[in-house]
Symmetry: C2
Subunit: 337 residues, 2 copies
DNA sequence: CTGTTAGCGCATTCAT
DNA sequence: ATGAATGCGCTAACAG
């Protein structure tokens, strides 16, 4: 069993309050006592018990990360990994631990983070975009009602609270415009389950702004048989005689280009490809070098964590929302026709 | 502020012990009281404060995951991601939270997990293979001295304690043998920084068992400019006139094959490639379909977490160590010469 | 079956 | 500047 503050006090010949004061540097203590206490702590390998401390201060120094991924693991997408990397950096530096809240077990009932918040197991929460509309509603309600420090990564859902986002619709339109400029008219739009609810808005907007373009949505599935699923998808593309396609991630792009080459279709000669990439340069590795819209997930994670930590330490909540602007990186996968 | 057990007790007209009993189902309570208490809990949205509970039971229901990655983020390698996926599955199901311990901030001083253990912030620890020899030594000492529930993923380091592993040396020898059977003699061995300390043993063994083989180690670097680093590496391969190469991961394999094709070298016509893959089928997506040694990181994570949870719940520690056997999956990247 | 009570380890008044 | 005492919310004897 570890040493407690009593053991330290006894060994240093002082009272526990003095030890506590030194621990928190909450008051001045005579130099010699400080020294004695430090030695005692050293000797006993004393570390303050976080339960006891938390019970008094109501602070865990833990931040929850909840990145819902429809039916899959958080660790399945590079987007999430980049987010986490960004988050990890600032949390580690600022002395917070990160606890990964798995969406694996919540079905029907409340998502795990509700429990974690109520049980006071975390000081703050970083929330990835929820996929489904109903969930979205309840989340919005939760955020409005509780004042629990939360930063939401994704399309802004209410004006109160912390928020980090990139405009899905905007940068998709940009990709489409780009293909249009290159003469493409029939475009297959691969879209992941988590983004389904953006689709209709995007389709509408495209129909209005770019009436000459026809968009063919193709849904991708997560999980093991990614390649299998893609095979069917590619058939759809061919049937609609699309000359270009947009992929939602580099993982998907790799599967897609693989399938294309298996069907003896060349990129970009037979079909142009643009992908979204969340890690800078990731799509460059996919032959022949896939042009990409870079959505800076890492920096977004960093921003999210920074916002949260700032809010936690109540140093004034200057910044409430931060937008990120994806940028297009041209490589070798788009051909003018 | 949330409701406490007192509030619930008052509202239900019982004592706090009764509430506690119901909470922990630690004794029988009359039906009507149970009902009253449940209603009160519902009404007050009561959730037991984990600090107070932990203070008594010394249990956090949190498991620490420490996957050291020399100078990089945990989230940078697919190996780690697969491990985490495996771990996530069982921890979520068994009601444990996972806190990611970042190795980002520990330099010089104790690694973070030491602090987490001493502060009793976690109940158990899953430890990835440490890279460096010195660290290894201190770790071994730590594990021997403390009886903190820990499962170590990687080469067995002491007979006490929980352990999950695959034999790095073995499966690398297997890959080499396979290339040898296909007529290859000069082989480039790409090796990641985390595995450097395995190298000399492997070289020795190869020299003994397979004297006709010459192995050329090439060190890979983590981080952003992966492709840059690979370019140099490939030159090394050519200089030594290697006819085959072994890649340590699918990420690396993607970069390598990309670089090869940029140099107008074809796989497998000009150079044969085998990679280690940690996610089943991952290397199949890399043209032309890279043959791979599948090291089942996901299942290994699952096993590690299971071992740990079992140990935590003291249901007898039947299994102390579990070995995994990688298997070779032949695809299109190896040619006989 | 149920209520009373003594800690768990610490931060924080309140005296001194 | 420092010690004694109180309470954070809960569990686990203990007593009825």
């Amino acid at each position: 069993m570890g040493a407690s503050i009593y053991d330290v006090a006894k060994r240093a010949g002082v009272s526990i309050s003095t030890v506590s004061r030194i621990l928190n540097s909450s008051a001045n203590v005579r130099e010699d006592k400080v020294k004695a206490v430090r030695e005692a702590m050293e000797y006993l390998k004393y570390e303050p018990n976080q339960f006891a401390r938390g019970l008094v201060k109501q602070k865990t120094n833990l931040v929850g990360i909840y990145l819902p991924t429809a039916g899959g693991s958080v660790f399945d997408s590079q987007y999430n990994m980049e987010l986490m990397k960004g988050i990890e950096g600032v949390l580690a530096r600022r002395g917070y631990g990160m606890v990964i809240l798995s969406s694996l077990t919540d079905s029907g009932k409340n998502p795990v983070y509700v429990e974690y918040i109520r049980q006071k197991r975390i000081d703050g929460l970083i929330l990835g975009s929820v996929a489904d509309g109903g969930e979205m509603e309840s989340l919005r309600k939760l955020l409005r009602e509780s004042s629990f420090p939360t930063v939401y990564i994704g399309k802004r859902i209410h004006t109160k609270g912390l928020n980090v986002y990139a405009r899905f619709e905007e940068y998709h339109m940009e990709m489409i415009r780009l293909l249009r400029k290159n003469g493409h008219r029939n475009i297959a739009l691969f879209i992941s389950p988590g983004h389904k609810h953006y689709l209709s808005a995007l389709l509408n907007r495209c129909r209005q702004e770019l009436p000459e373009i026809t968009l063919y949505p193709v849904f991708t599935r997560r999980g093991e048989n990614r390649s299998l699923c893609t095979e069917d998808s590619i058939k759809t593309v061919l049937d609609k005689s699309c000359t270009a396609l947009i992929s939602p991630s580099t993982e998907e792009a790799l599967a897609i280009t693989g399938e294309l080459s298996r069907l003896d279709l060349k990129v970009p000669e037979d079909v142009s490809v643009i992908t979204v990439e969340h890690k800078k340069g990731a799509a460059a590795l996919i032959p022949p070098g896939i042009s990409a819209m870079y959505v800076p997930a890492g920096p977004m994670g960093t921003a999210a964590a920074s916002l949260l930590v700032t809010a936690l330490e109540k140093t004034g909540q200057e910044e409430l929302s931060r937008e990120f602007f994806p940028c297009y990186i041209s490589r070798n996968s788009v051909k003018a026709i």
